[in-house]
């Protein structure tokens, strides 16, 4: 499975935000539920704009949502 070097806390943040569903988060940020699934599984790195929209949906800074691990970077 292709793993992104960017990990995230989206699932935890959804839980702490009134157990928000993936569909609800997807509707808030303007993507499909499948994209949220892929992001949570670290199979897809969102664009910068989408990353900011997700952080705004949870009302937290970007760094609290996403973490970049250089050791996982294949480059």
């Amino acid at each position: 499975m292709a793993q992104s070097s960017v990990s995230n806390n989206i699932r935890k943040l959804r839980f702490y935000n009134g157990e928000m569903t993936q569909q609800q988060l997807a509707d808030k940020v303007g993507v499909t539920r499948q994209t949220i699934v892929a992001i949570e599984k670290a199979q897809y790195s969102p664009s910068l704009e989408l990353a900011f929209r997700i952080a705004r949906a949870f009302n937290v800074p970007l760094e609290e949502v996403f973490t970049y691990d250089p050791e996982d970077d294949p480059a």
């Binding site: 699932r11 839980f15 569903t21 993507v31 499909t32 499948q34 994209t35 199979q43 664009s47």
Partner: protein, 162 residues
């Protein structure tokens, strides 16, 4: 930490986009095989003007493109109907988001790479002195392989990530 999504996730299976790609792959592969056999059979029994062999192949390719467009439209319609009829928790997406567009772009890139390789092969055949009809057949095959390669890679990207 149990979330409501878990029940949807546990339904497993394929997303609408994945089903759409698989449907395209299956119908396209069947169409290519059947059509190729039909054209080859006509070619073998001599149901064409030998002096216009290239024209025969050109028409066959154009007809295939038209048939493929119709088949794919019908496939997507039936898929959408089947999806709406099936009682499921999840609503199928009605738009393409950034991930869908990126996967589509990468699939198109892979299509062009595969077709390009086949095209070069056909030019090598032409340069080696093979008849023009062989070149056309190779281009035809390259078109099919390119198409299937692009769709297959889209399926891989959807299933395994990018």
């Amino acid at each position: 930490m149990v979330l409501d999504d878990d029940s949807i996730e546990s339904e497993g299976g394929l997303s609408y986009q994945e089903k759409s790609v698989i449907a395209y792959l299956i119908t396209t592969a069947i169409l290519y095989i059947l059509y190729s056999l039909l054209v080859y059979r006509r070619y073998q029994v001599g149901d064409y003007d030998p002096a216009a062999a290239a024209q025969f192949l050109g028409r066959a390719i154009l007809l295939l493109i038209g048939i493929q467009i119709v088949v794919q439209i019908l496939t997507q319609i039936f898929l959408a109907i089947g999806s709406s009829v099936a009682a499921r928790k999840e609503v199928d997406p009605s738009f393409e988001d950034e991930r869908d567009k990126l996967i589509s772009l990468k699939g198109t890139r892979n299509t062009f790479v595969a077709f390009g390789a086949g095209f070069i092969l056909s030019m090598i055949a032409l340069a080696a002195g093979m008849p023009a009809t062989v070149t056309l057949v190779l281009i035809f095959i390259a078109m099919m392989v390119g198409d299937l390669t692009g769709e297959l890679s889209k399926l891989v990207y959807y299933r395994r990530g990018m």
